[in-house]
């Protein structure tokens, strides 16, 4: 018993090392702290990871490193895709370490939890990699900003563009998860509104490696378009195996509803060629995007993903709004973010809406054939612009309690 007693005291001391709140130096101005929280060690680490930290730091540096006469600090943490880890870190950051804004937040369950924690404290969440449209729907927050993309925009972008190109019969391969169903439902709505039909669908458990059975069902449906309402490894596997089963050679098109440049990189152009997808940013779109990408690559060593580009944009706009508002109060800063138009290397006349959704143009891309690609990461050709006005869920359909419905 004595041993255990000493042990308990020792354990208590050990705890202190891991959780002691940092004492701030007296007299020095309290820094503005921005916390980058995302998945750094698991399945979504390639969307943001340490690259988002690099992007945030770039934004701070470009802004001058100071705002309201106070230095700006960027800290980061890995939420490991676990909501209680994310919520715990968020609380600690806000309550103990004086963090003013949390950025990035892939994985909707964590994003929703952290946004909730932030909302209760009047602190800001700038979500770049997280995709659930519910973040500006029933879980909306007056201090929440959904910056880059959401599942509604992806569905609408790809869905409407593909139907315009003649793809009017669809079969869905849907990840059996809320986001998969959301992607399917939103795309199906667009397809039907444009006069097309949904011939069938199949729900696939998450992290299923073999899609042959489902691809067979898709082939037999004879639908012109096979919509991939899944993400990450599941998308890569579905596309890889679709090539194997001769789906595209057989005349059916693949529409990736949540595909990113790194997924295309994982597939290789030979397999991914012809794939249609929607993204908010592609590094090679124009001079501005290229210039920024080159700078990012110089710092981080890799081509930026749209989520990482979004982190830069969100942090920059946040700092700009804070300087203009003259205060660090979350509600006032976000209100200022709504007032100021968003113009940066990836956004032209973007606007932050009352529900927290950033209205920006989205772009429909097609993956190039291998012979069309001239240099590394030369993957996409832009087919269409989906204007901001059409891309996002209209306020009239919103479940956000902040929206006053007349």
């Amino acid at each position: 018993m004595k041993a255990k007693f000493i042990l308990a005291v020792a354990a208590a001391a050990a705890l202190g090392m891991a959780t002691a709140s940092g004492a701030s130096a007296q007299g020095a101005p309290k820094p503005i702290k921005i916390g980058v929280m995302n998945d750094m060690s698991s399945v979504y680490s390639y969307l943001g990871g340490m690259g988002s930290v690099a992007a945030a730091k770039m934004a701070v540096k470009d802004f001058g490193g100071k705002v309201l006469g106070r230095p700006i600090e960027v800290i980061f943490a890995d939420h490991q895709n676990k909501p209680d880890v994310g919520a715990g870190i968020a609380r600690q950051w806000f309550d103990e370490q004086g963090v003013d804004a949390i950025v990035d937040l892939p994985t909707s369950s964590v994003a929703i939890a952290v946004q909730q924690v932030a909302k209760e404290r009047g602190k800001v969440t700038l979500i770049s990699n997280g995709g659930s449209s519910e973040l500006t729907g029933k879980f909306c927050s007056p201090t929440g900003v959904h910056w880059t993309y959401d599942t509604y925009a992806m569905a609408h972008g790809t869905g409407s563009a593909v139907v315009k190109q003649g793809g009017n019969t669809w079969f869905f391969l849907t990840a059996d998860y809320a986001f998969g169903h959301a992607l399917q439902d939103d795309t199906a709505a667009v397809v039907k509104a444009a006069g097309g039909t949904v011939v069938g669908s199949v729900n696939v458990p998450l992290n299923n490696a073999d899609f042959s059975s489902f691809l067979l069902q898709a082939q037999q449906s004879k639908a012109k378009v096979i919509g991939l309402a899944n993400a990450g490894g599941d998308t890569v596997n579905s596309i890889k195996q679709a090539a194997e089963f001769g789906i595209v050679a057989g005349g059916q098109r693949l529409a990736g509803l949540l595909v990113f440049i790194m997924d295309v990189d994982a597939l290789g152009l030979k397999t991914a060629q012809g794939l249609l997808l929607t993204e908010a940013y592609y590094w090679d779109q124009n001079d501005a995007t290229r210039a920024w990408a080159k700078r990012f690559q110089a710092v981080y060593g890799k081509i930026p993903t749209s989520g990482q580009a979004g982190v830069y944009g969100a942090v920059s706009h946040y700092l700009k709004a804070m300087a203009a508002a003259g205060t660090d109060d979350g509600i006032k800063v976000v209100a200022k973010m709504r007032e100021l138009p968003i113009n940066d290397f990836m956004t032209k006349n973007g606007k932050l809406r009352e529900d927290g959704r950033v209205l920006r143009d989205m772009y429909l891309f097609e993956v190039k054939k291998p012979e069309e690609s001239k240099y590394p990461f030369d993957y996409y050709k832009q087919l269409a612009v989906i204007p901001a006005a059409q891309a996002y869920r209209p306020l009239s359909e919103s479940e956000c309690p902040l929206i006053k419905k007349n």
Partner: protein, 321 residues
Amino acid sequence: MAGAPEMARGQAARWAILFALAAAAPFFFYPIFLMKALCFGLFAAAFNLLLGFTGLLSLGHAVFMGSASYVTAYAMKAWGLPPLIGILAGTGVAAVLGVAFGWLAIRRQGIYFAMVTLALSQMVYFYAVESKYTGGEDGIQAVPRGMLLGLIDLNRPLAMYYFVLAVFIIGFAIIYRAVHSPFGEVLKAIRENEPRAISLGYRTERYKLLAFVLSATLAGLAGATKALVFQLASLTDVDWTMSGDVVLMTLIGGVGTLWGPVVGAFVTVAMENYLAQFGSWITVIEGVIFVLCVLTFRRGIVGELAHRLPRWLGRRRATPD
């Protein structure tokens, strides 16, 4: 045993000091972190009742914690129940699951028992993904903490902390009592040599089932409380990697010791917090810890200390434990 009243006074003094430390802790450490550690500590201690004291490895123990977590979260959010009732509801569901799964799993031994628990927990995981009550991968969010007994607002961190501490003390006391009792002795006998226990006339099936149900119920209590601490319930709580986490905590702390799992939980939660800054190296560091624990540190923290400390202090005092 020499000096029994002396021992009792010594023990009471130590309990008092521990309690004082626990009561003072939220003024020095971040309360949410402490509460998380307490919940996981109770979960690990309940798990260890089965592993360390009965010799049964359950690979699906997260299901009890997770299902209680979901039930409590849902009850508080959808029906607005007061916190005590919400927690009781969650714990009750975990107990029922414990009876059902225990009755099925106890029929098998060793690795087969472990595999049955894993299979059953995966089925519950599937249900959690599909059911509309659990919110799928978004989970149940924004769960209200409510007013304890209609008087104490649990949204205040200190109030919530003392409540969680009380729950932990009650749960741990039950485990302590179970272990230091004739029932506990039979469990240890089963762990050491089940055929012999049977030959002595004990209906080992009943004891194992009771241990399983007790373990599941207390794991449920931990989960229900955790749902209120974080105000959410998610798939992470029923995932098989959570079952793996509790094994790690118990291993780090010391299988078969009473305080080991609690210490292991505190260390693991602290590590998770601390390692979050290391970003991508977390998985590798966790792996290294697993390997080190198994190869060189099998007794766990508490086990090692209990083993070595008497020898270090041996010359001055020989305190039987």
